[in-house]
Symmetry: C2
Subunit: 207 residues, 2 copies
């Protein structure tokens, strides 16, 4: 094993540091967050920090990092109250990753990639037509993380669509069947297949 102390970390070259520290939490979710400005300019941006917060009510959150992520997503969802979460699948990895380029808020990433904007029902934010999972979200809260000036943005699931072949009888969504990607570090993508499902665990009997 190779050990890195805190002193090493603080003196790393910048690129080395962000590559390594961004890999340290393990695999991350790969999502495209869709939003639209009140003027109608659509935004789509890749995020790797979407996290499950609870099922009742159904809540997801994501981390907003002020210095590294364009704020268009945040400004839009604050103004319109809604956003979408779309899973990145194998066929759209390149275009999804390209949305990390810093475009002006006047330019839609939908125009600069082959990703297709789609509206479902009367929901007021754009989905990604190619995504195998599409979730309509209502903004409900945000929490400031004072320690490093980031925010946890919290949204409540309003409705969602999934590819039928991903859904199993007990509600389990087989992400592998949708060729859903996961992110390793800042720029690594993997497309896993399900290895195994394990049973609900109860304590072993002490002899």
């Amino acid at each position: 094993m190779k050990r890195f102390t805190r002193e090493h970390i603080d003196t790393f070259d910048y690129i080395f540091k962000i590559n390594l520290i961004n890999s340290l939490s393990g695999y991350k979710s790969a999502n495209l967050i869709g939003s639209v400005s009140p003027e109608g300019i659509e935004n789509i941006a890749v995020f790797s920090s979407v996290v499950h917060l609870g099922s009742t009510p159904p809540l997801l959150g994501f981390i907003l990092r002020p210095t590294t992520v364009p704020r268009n997503t945040y400004e839009n969802l604050k103004k319109t109250g809604v956003f979408t979460i779309n899973h990145v699948s194998e066929s759209i990895i390149e275009d999804a990753h390209h949305t990390s380029a810093k475009y002006s808020s006047l330019i839609s990433e939908f125009e600069m990639t082959d990703l297709t904007s789609e509206y479902l029902g009367d929901f007021g934010a754009p989905f990604v037509a190619e995504a195998p999972v599409k979730i309509g979200m209502k903004y409900v809260d945000e929490i400031d993380i004072h320690y490093n000036q980031t925010k946890l943005v919290i949204g409540e699931i309003q409705f969602f669509e999934v590819e039928e072949e991903m859904l199993q009888e007990d509600g389990f969504l087989n992400l592998g069947r949708g060729e859903v990607a996961t992110i390793n570090g800042l720029d690594g993508y993997a497309v896993p297949s399900l290895f195994k499902r394990l049973e609900y665990q109860r304590p072993k009997q002490l002899i």
Copy 2:
């Protein structure tokens, strides 16, 4: 695509609901969090909500859900100020998953599984010897998510160890080389291989 409205979600059978909503954020990190009580009883528990919060300072967080996760981890890290984050790899998936069983705080999951407790230097919390990535964490803050009575627990990386063959020249940690697992839903495990790394993205030139 199959659509589920909010009314569907709220009337789902409980198991169906938690399986489906827990799958909706995409792939999740698979980590074992290690801690020890002031009385010396070690605890190790699987978490799927560890998230990268920032690199300067190097911060990771995780979600603590009061109703579903034993609170031993939280009580220990509050009392001792330290905990560890260890990656779940293919060979320890079953034992890692078993730590989700609800044992009394008087029983160490290390005794009930083949996972091996390991201390590194004078750090005051146990690591998992078998893990390909081991991170020593200092508790720094916690943030209440009032919307559903969960918490975001924030820790600062003090030092870490990684398997040498995982580390690339530019700091990228190839999780596939460590056979690191990712979690799908509540009980699905996958062990991905790196599919591709993509370049830092700059805006395309408008013609």
